[in-house]
Symmetry: C2
Subunit: 312 residues, 2 copies
């Protein structure tokens, strides 16, 4: 299966029916996960705000975690070292523990784990990882359907997104991805897709925060022509943010390449913005004659780490 077939599976993931229920008595939610799995928690944290949501992306968990904490561990493989350690710690503190995984140790450690299909790259399973959280937040079914329809349209005509990939690879540019609320973290998703699929450095930030720091560099940087600036817009963006984008571009004389979400609902805007980054990072890998699927260096690193633990 070519990697593009894996990318095209996203639309089907939106009908995944499992749900992480948020019990009333829960006072806060902690979501643990790394990289392509952790991104689900980051995105959810920005969308769901009825209770405090914190994300964890290391070995430790916050001291406040207790029996009133819903602790959700997300690891596609089920064997992520950092995430497994957080589960042990959350259990000691009596948290209500749920998990989303395709198997591995995590599926054995956490009863009633939500089991998702295996055989994908974690980053290609963003639908499976995120949908159970969104369903727990009671997002209406028609939003998922609209999103799936719009993803299908994109899958049938994604070639125009090659131009963005060419814009980056010509001149070997470094993509900078600027997000906008309420989908700031989609910019981080794009950054990680450029890293893993295209094997190039990339960084993300977001409006309005970047107007307090990056803006100074956008005007004056000695190498700004080596960067390619992308702004992710959505119809849920505040007009004040729209003004900020326009004024920043004018004042700093920077060309922003605007990419917009599609559709009416939040879920559709969210997933179409994610999916455009999937395609662009894929096409960029192809431009570079690089295998978008390969993440062997991450696997080597895990092996070296395991060896080093034995030697300690």
């Amino acid at each position: 299966m070519d990697y593009i077939e894996e990318i095209k599976k996203l639309k089907d993931q939106l009908s995944f029916a499992e749900e992480i229920e948020i019990p009333d008595q829960v006072e806060n939610i902690v979501i643990a996960g790394m990289g392509g799995s952790g991104i689900a928690g980051r995105i959810f944290k920005e969308i769901y705000d009825k209770k405090p949501v914190l994300t964890v992306d290391s070995y430790d968990i916050p001291e406040f975690v207790n029996h009133k904490t819903l602790f959700v561990a997300i690891s596609y493989s089920g064997n992520t070292e950092e995430t497994l350690e957080t589960v042990k710690k959350a259990r000691k503190k009596g948290a209500i523990i749920r998990a989303i995984t395709s198997g591995g140790i995590l599926s054995q450690e956490v009863k009633n784990s939500i089991i998702i299909p295996s055989g994908l790259q974690p980053r290609s399973s963003i639908g499976y990882l995120l949908v159970p959280l969104l369903r727990g937040a009671n997002i209406p079914e028609n939003e998922f359907k609209e999103a799936a329809n719009n993803l299908e349209t994109m899958d049938n005509n994604s070639f125009y997104l090659k131009d963005v990939a060419k814009g980056i690879s010509t001149g070997k540019k470094t993509p900078v991805v600027y997000g906008t609320p309420p989908f700031r973290e989609v910019a981080y998703r794009w950054k990680t897709q450029f890293n893993e699929n295209s094997k190039i450095l990339s960084y993300s930030s977001y409006f309005p925060e970047l107007n307090h720091n990056d803006t100074m560099a956008l005007e004056n940087d000695y190498r700004k022509d080596d960067f390619y600036f992308i702004v992710l817009e959505s119809k849920y963006m505040d007009n004040k943010i729209r003004e900020r984008i326009r004024i920043t571009s004018e004042l700093c004389k920077i060309k922003f390449n605007i990419v917009s979400g599609e559709g009416e609902s939040k879920v559709s805007q969210l997933f179409t913005l994610i999916h455009k980054g999937d395609y662009i990072s894929y096409y960029l890998a192809k431009e570079r004659n690089i295998d978008p699927r390969d993440v062997s260096i991450i696997e080597k690193l895990k092996k070296e780490l395991a060896k080093s633990d034995i030697n300690k």
Copy 2:
């Protein structure tokens, strides 16, 4: 006053005696602030974990905010548009509101604001902005004293940090700053100091999260020689993180320029790591013949935004 004199004031800020008390009945803490003011909340969130802490860096606040929320607004000028709007919204929801500011509208809006000295750049007042939060978390006085002593030592001999600045400016490199828990957000502080003081692009990430994405790019990026990689270490860093740094550097054949915190206590490690970034970004501005204090483009942007609001 040369800007370096402003940088050297940090040590004196550590004896600032004001405190944001955290009442027992508070269930969660929300800290609002942008850029050089917002960084205080980001850093605090990583150090204090007895209750959930969330940071806000836009116009909106989470729905869960209520009378059991301690809402801390931080704005050096007291006139930050985003932060002032969050205060209005937090008030409507009945939150317990505190503020840290040098004056402006915020000092009028929030009774019993902690008033800090005016006349500095917000980013030079990180001590004033952060110390009241740390004191509220009951960090012992001797930690602040140790930190102040170690900052003074650095102020008397910071010249060796010029070498790092030269390493960046020679070859016009883009600094990438990698943080490590429990001071991940200090890497973000460095990024913003490179933006505002040195007027160059920069980005930050942190271990172990970056091992799940950046690592792929570190091996394969087409322009990685144009970047200068800095890793911020501390004595509070887990040994597993130390191993990750070593193995990542070896596998990806990347030279990490290691910068370490000084002293025994967490407060000393934290502020000395911050301060090294202050100096390096200052020296880099000097290398580039750029005024580190100037942030006129950010001011212009604020003016344009104000005009545009009128026209709406």
